[in-house]
Amino acid sequence: MLQIKDLHVSVQGKEILTGLNLEVNAGEVHAIMGPNGTGKSTLASVIAGNENYEVTKGEIIYNSKNLLELSIEDRAREGVFLGFQYPVEIPGVSMTNFMRTALDEIREYRGEKPLSAAQFLKYMKQKKALVEMQDKLNNRSVNEGFSGGEKKKNEIFQMAMLEPKLAILDETDSGLDIDALRIVANGVTKLKSPENATIVITHYQRLLDYIVPDFVHVMYEGRIVKTGDKSLALELEEKGYDWIKDELKA
């Protein structure tokens, strides 16, 4: 589904991703961990198409398309979803209206008819239940005045609505209380299917108790430097990152 080869990315002349390789197949869950500032969010942004980042070398192939040639919105319409580490507020635009517009655009791209108002509301209700989202949040403006945890839940709700093929969740677990964490993780698990794939970026192994990853990658200085299974996350939790740094130096 996704092949990233020797990806180099700079922002304002500074190289942040320094030759990153990653392969993700349908049905898989990948976890990416790594110290602050190593480029995890940068990777997510580049996949989503954020133009602040300049790809200087390498390629990203997504479902045999050259992803780097697609516009931001076409990537989204092709099924790429980014759960933001810091979701922005859009004052005056209700969640309902936002999701309706997004879904209409995506369906149109896929040559599907727009849902009727009734169908849409029913669909939204189902998805809301999935993430145990409170009703009142839908009538509020996008993320405006949402608590940190509500914003994160809202990202998962949007993911549920848009049914992406490739979801990248950037620290969706930070700032969540233990119940919210369970809800978010269950939401992700329920949405999992053999056709889609998920990349979770996280600092905490506890998320991985709920979302069991097939692979755990460690990112350091703009590259993936170690890949393992779930036990790697446990090891990191216990020992921190120094031993990996040492290994690299050795």
Binding site: G49, E73, A76, V88, G92, V93, T101
Partner: protein, 482 residues
Amino acid sequence: MAKDEQKIIGDVTNSDYKYGFYSDIETDTIAKGLSEETVRIISMKKEEPEWLLDFRLKAYRKWLTMEEPDWAHLNIPPIDFQDIIYYAAPKKKKELESLNEVDPELLDTFNKLGISLEEQKKLAGVAVDAVIDSVSVKTTFSATLEEKGIIFMSFSEAVQKYPDLVKKYLGTVVPIGDNYFAALNSAVFSDGSFCYIPKGVRSPVELSTYFRINTANTGQFERTLIIADEGAYVSYLEGCTAPQRDENQLHAAIVEIIAHKDGEVKYSTVQNWYPGDKEGKGGIYNFVTKRGMCEGDRSKISWTQVETGSAITWKYPSCVLKGDFSVGEFYSVAVTNNYQQADTGSKMIHLGKNTKSTIISKGISAGKSHNSYRGLVRINPKADNSRNFSQCDSLLLGDKCGAHTFPYIESMNTSAIVEHEATTSKISDAQLFYCQQRGLSPEKSIGLIVNGYAKEVLNQLPMEFAMEAQKLLSISLENSVG
């Protein structure tokens, strides 16, 4: 991302005015130019009573002594008042019984605008007094209104049928010498709407007028007079679009509103006149005097406007709060793009005790346009315990446009509370990225963000009108910003 935004704004800024067409209805015009003779001809053509001719002549003589206002933030090319046709009316055919008899060309025009009379009648329950150029062509729903004693007709018709009412109120809110353009209008006004809601009556429908400027070189001088008698209520809608023309067209309307004791008038406008092309050529000059008089205790007047058109807009819907406990409101969204200039705002004059006013102004600037808010809140010495709240927000798209805020506050009563808030913001790259990541095109994203920004004002509009306004914002923001 910044690059992208530039591109979007560029695209949007370059698209052409969607309603740029003009219909070819036979019109009866008089020669160009303005003189006492012109004023007399207009009055004669309209078969007006003597007092109205006197009113016009007085205004004309006053106008001769006045100077064109010179506003710091509007760049107005000199207007040649002798190069304007002051009277144009669709040629009178026989009285129309039904829509079938209406000029098909006219119906076609309405259809292009998506506001066919039929549709309006059926779907919206709106009585439409369609004004093409200067003479009302069709009034619908009059029967329903008549039953309630509501008078809603063209101004000229009202002059013939209810001269006493017209005489009693005309010029009482906007005196003939109020300002340069008001004096001009008072001298040469062609037609407009008249509306009277009798004591204790709530209008069962929203009264709506669609104005269009239709003849090349015709100055448009609308005159509207709305009166809510004691305890009466009406919601009044005015909307307009204009055909694309090469030459500048002057529009200097006057709207006067009077609300008696416990009376309420809600006045909503969606204005979409031809703003000029990408180089700023052509387009309507819109110099409008709109003022409401809260005459009686507990009366209320609210102005809601969505301004997307005109090359130059100069407009300050105002309220004089004379009655105790009277309320004045002003909600505005003004969009400027390309070389458009807007200088708009409101004046709230507090005279009575415990009077209250609210001003919510949302300016959106794109292209090389300039958008100014100019407002005055005056609390007179006797206006004990009066309150005003003003909020003026500006949203900038791109970095070549400008937003300016000029709030003037004159409080002569220490018990008054006047609050003013102002913000300036830009659509952020992060917001655009977020929307696009959810599958929205850049244009849709900007449209959505801008509509969200203007929501507080759009919410004030009646339902059907709000949807139309939203579309218009998106068009002028698809086509003008996003």
